[in-house]
């Protein structure tokens, strides 16, 4: 078990360091790159917990898709770093105040947290036996039986969000030339090419 605990401290140490770097880097692109390192170490922690499916999902979804979009956007925006830093001292008290409020709220919630004695049993009830099947199958069996309506509803929410963003950004712009494949393919030789006999010395109009 030495290796497992060493790995845990390695992953969590790097995760914390890189999370701090996300905030303290001056360059936003470097921040995103540190964020990706944080995701990786979180995935490593999932693997240590025996949740290999979640670890892979974290990498595929967050690192492979979400962080790529972040990087894309941050690179395209020409952010002036000094401009962002300008008002730093001015806004610091407000930020610190909000931080303190959140901290107090969290402390209150955590302090007043009481776990029902049945909660643990209730939570474990639908879990299939992990020693019998691997956790991909276990997750699938829970998600598509017990929680199928919630799962579908989550999908619908995402679909609505996607349609909404498309509707908001789609506008017909005049003068945009688009390729119409079916028109190109259905064009006949007779419509486009005409063979003309040209009389010598006269030409054609």
């Amino acid at each position: 078990m030495i290796i497992a605990s060493l790995a845990f401290y390695l992953f969590s140490f790097i995760a914390v360091i890189s999370a701090l770097n996300v905030i303290f880097q001056r360059n936003p692109v470097h921040s995103v790159l540190w964020l990706i390192l944080t995701f990786f170490n979180a995935a490593g922690l999932f693997v240590l917990l025996g949740a290999e499916f979640l670890a892979m999902l974290l990498i595929v979804v967050y690192v492979g898709a979400v962080a790529v979009l972040f990087l894309f956007v941050v690179m395209m925006l020409d952010i002036n770093v000094t401009m962002i830093r300008e008002g730093f001292m001015k806004y610091l008290p407000v930020g610190a105040f909000i931080g303190v409020v959140l901290l107090v709220e969290l402390a209150l919630v955590y302090g007043g947290w009481a776990m029902s004695p049945q909660a643990e049993a209730l939570r474990l009830a639908p879990t299939p036996d992990i020693t019998q099947i691997d956790n991909t199958k276990a997750l699938g069996q829970i998600m598509y039986t017990q929680y199928v309506y919630v799962f579908q509803a989550a999908g619908l929410v995402l679909l609505v969000a996607m349609i909404g963003s498309i509707v908001l950004t789609l506008r017909r712009r005049p003068g945009v030339r688009k390729q119409n494949i079916s028109v190109q393919v259905s064009r006949r030789k007779e419509e486009t090419v005409e063979v003309v006999k040209v009389p010598t010395g006269k030409g054609i109009a």
Binding site: I3, E52, M56, V63, G64, V68, M76, D134, T136, Q179
Partner: protein, 334 residues
């Protein structure tokens, strides 16, 4: 102490030995894929190709490596040096770590994990980072444009690759690569999934930035795309990474559709599995090189149209068909 050695030192040495057994042949093969590509394209275009260094030009890859090593590494002004040098390393090491789960024969693999296919998908979806980092860190217009193109291209084709992988895993009933290969005893998956095999192969070409989808490095418009500012060893790492990626993707195609290490007929099973696997990878690599020699480069909007409007709907429909067929005939593997 003896317990410590038996429990930790020996397994660690064993794993390191296995990694060496994979990586060293892989690097040699990568070198010879570059040679094979030049010879095959030479033959297809009625040229000779490299034939001077060594017998039949067989030492050409090493001559190229020595040439690249002795060149100067140039850091462009205004670049971000750490990210600039990190980018080729990321590309190269991503192409290497995918081999951790690929079984080259029955039981011949470094790590037999339950989610092998997801791992491969995750690694191949990370490939975009090397290119984007290189393009951004170079502080050059050409490199940046190349990186933007490649980011959009690789993200789009990954979607259909993901759906096709789901079709295969529905038929095999497992995410474990060895079990996927074993599920193909009797019939390799390229027969029932023939349209998906074709689409997967074309998506692989786009994912590895090969012709006819090599837009991130289109010479005629972008000089060399994201590689414009790279020289010497950094360039060599990109180059090796690209070819190692080709071999890795050919390996994935062989495992998912061509039966991995399985022989085509049971009578031929006296030949070891690794030979069949190598033959299948070589076949896919030959197809890739053949495509490069015969097809012109796609225009960028056509590439995007193909990915989103043709491949994505087709793989979605095929996924529904596969699931429907398996449920209707009661053949769902549990």
């Amino acid at each position: 102490m003896a317990e410590f050695i038996a429990n930790y030192v020996i397994p660690l040495a064993w794993i390191l030995g296995k990694i060496l057994l994979f990586v060293v042949p892989l690097l040699v093969v990568v070198a010879y894929v570059t040679y094979a590509e030049r010879r095959i394209i030479g033959a297809m275009q009625m040229r000779i190709g490299p034939n001077v260094v060594g017998p039949f030009g067989l030492l050409q890859p090493f001559a190229d490596a020595v040439k690249l090593l002795t060149k100067e590494t140039v850091l462009p002004t205004g670049s971000s040096p750490v990210v600039f040098l990190l980018a080729p390393m990321v590309t190269f090491s991503l192409a290497m770590i995918a081999w951790a789960v690929i079984p080259v024969s029955e039981g011949w693999l470094i790590s037999d994990i339950n989610v092998g296919m997801l791992y491969l998908f995750a690694v191949s979806s990370l490939g975009v980072y090397g290119i984007v980092m290189a393009g951004w860190a170079s502080n050059s217009r050409y490199a940046f444009l190349g990186a933007m193109r490649s980011a959009a291209q690789m993200v789009s084709y990954e979607v259909s690759i993901g759906f096709i992988m789901i079709c295969v895993l529905l038929t095999a009933g497992s995410l474990n690569l060895s079990e996927i290969v074993n599920a193909q005893k009797g019939m390799w998956f390229f027969i029932p999934h023939l349209p998906m095999f074709v689409i997967f192969f074309i998506s692989v070409l786009a994912e590895t930035n090969r012709h006819p989808f090599d837009l991130p490095e289109a010479e005629s418009e972008l000089v060399a795309g994201f590689m414009t500012e790279y020289s010497s060893m950094a360039f060599a790492l990109f180059f090796l990474g690209e070819y190692a990626n080709m071999i890795m993707m050919s390996g994935i195609v062989s495992i998912l559709f061509l039966g991995g290490w399985l022989p085509p007929f049971e009578a031929l099973s006296f030949i070891p599995g690794i030979v069949w696997f190598a033959l299948k990878i070589s076949f896919c690599l030959f197809l890739m090189i053949w495509v490069r020699a015969t097809f012109p480069r796609y225009r960028y909007d056509q590439l995007m149209r193909l990915g989103w409007k043709v491949f994505l709907p087709m793989s979605l429909i095929w996924l529904v068909l596969t699931a429907g067929y398996l449920v209707y005939t009661g053949k769902v593997p549990v």
